[in-house]
């Protein structure tokens, strides 16, 4: 397991999500694919945190606890992205329901109008 392998998995997940976003018609599947893309990005962040040293650690002299904690910046990023994704999913579904109520459809081609 090297950083290249992990980044490869992350890129594959992102690409699969991108395919889903472009090729699906149902808004629900599009949102699912978006979540897959989010996950791909977060895997990359955690991988960088695990395998590459942070700048503060490389130059840190004398070493401080703050510099050591900077090795976990990727984890902090992962948690923030997860929180944003959760909020995004909740709002996106609320929008899908609102659209379904007014147009009786969840297809992306019917979503060109956002009135009411």
């Amino acid at each position: 397991m090297t950083i290249e392998n992990v980044l490869l998995v992350s890129a594959a997940l992102f690409a699969i999500g991108a395919y889903g976003v472009i090729s699906r018609r149902s808004l629900i599947t599009v949102i699912m694919s978006l979540e897959l893309m989010f996950n791909g990005v977060v895997i990359a962040a955690v991988a960088f945190s695990r395998f590459t040293p942070s700048a503060a650690l490389l130059t840190g002299d004398p070493l401080t606890a703050e510099a050591i904690r900077s090795a976990l910046t990727g984890h902090v990023f992962a948690i923030f992205v997860t929180a944003v994704a959760a909020g995004e999913a909740a709002l996106a579904f609320a929008l899908v329901f609102a659209m379904y109520r007014s147009t009786e459809s969840v297809e992306i081609t019917d979503a060109s109008e956002m009135k009411n």
Partner: protein
């Protein structure tokens, strides 16, 4: 040591296969409910990947938020919307989708394999020990520095604060980061989640009968 790294490699590839395989099911399956179940499995695979990458706290967050909350939200959405039985039809953009996905993947993989990533081995010895085994914070004020746990100087007037290494004890180090260095971002995320909650409620209200009465919209303003 070799056995542990072999085990890690096997776990990594197994979790990757699970994640990617189920992700392909998500984007190709016509039955949206099956896609939602596959999505939950894919999120679980990502959680296992985080465990393998020694990011335990992120892994637990992943399982709680994605598998526990977002997947349930997806399942509810699928059950609420009636004409989902028609399935999720692919759009005309299928070929475009394949081309874009392959290009994105090729670009990212090319970058991953052609960049000389810095390695953890290039860190000074003290930093490596601090990351994996444990460290002590010595001194106060501007003189604060970090030494390996077995190099702690003797003396009564030296302040010593012992911690296990960051990669060993990532959860507590993460907690300290969140409330010190990333305090502002942490607060803004809280605000964002409240805004998402109120926005979601506002959008999901029962549709008003005819014209909206003033009392219904006057109470909530975002």
């Amino acid at each position: 040591m070799t056995e542990i790294s072999t085990l890690t490699t096997v776990a990594f590839w197994a979790a990757s296969a699970m994640t990617l395989g189920l992700a392909v099911v998500v984007v190709t399956q016509r039955d949206v409910f099956r896609a939602a179940i596959a999505l939950a499995g894919s999120f679980m695979g990502v959680g296992i990947l985080y465990f393998v990458l020694s990011a335990e706290f992120v892994a637990v967050v992943q399982i709680l938020v994605y598998v526990g909350a977002i997947s349930v939200l997806m399942a509810f959405a699928v059950m609420f919307i009636q004409d989902i039985a028609a399935g999720s039809r692919p759009s005309q953009g299928r070929l475009v989708g394949v081309i874009v996905a392959v290009l994105v993947f090729a670009a990212l993989a090319f970058t991953a394999y052609n960049t000389e990533w810095l390695s953890m081995d290039e860190l000074p010895r003290v930093a490596q020990i601090a990351l994996t085994e444990g460290y002590a914070e010595v001194g106060t004020g501007a003189d604060t520095r970090v030494v390996p746990l077995d190099d702690v100087p003797e003396g009564d007037d030296i302040f010593v604060d012992e911690s296990a290494g960051v990669l060993v004890d990532s959860t507590s180090a993460l907690g300290v980061s969140l409330v010190r260095k990333y305090m502002l971002a942490f607060e803004i995320i809280g605000l964002l989640l409240v805004a998402a909650l109120i926005g979601g409620l506002l959008l999901m209200r029962d549709p008003p009968e005819g014209k909206k009465p003033e009392s219904e919209t006057g109470g909530v303003s975002v």
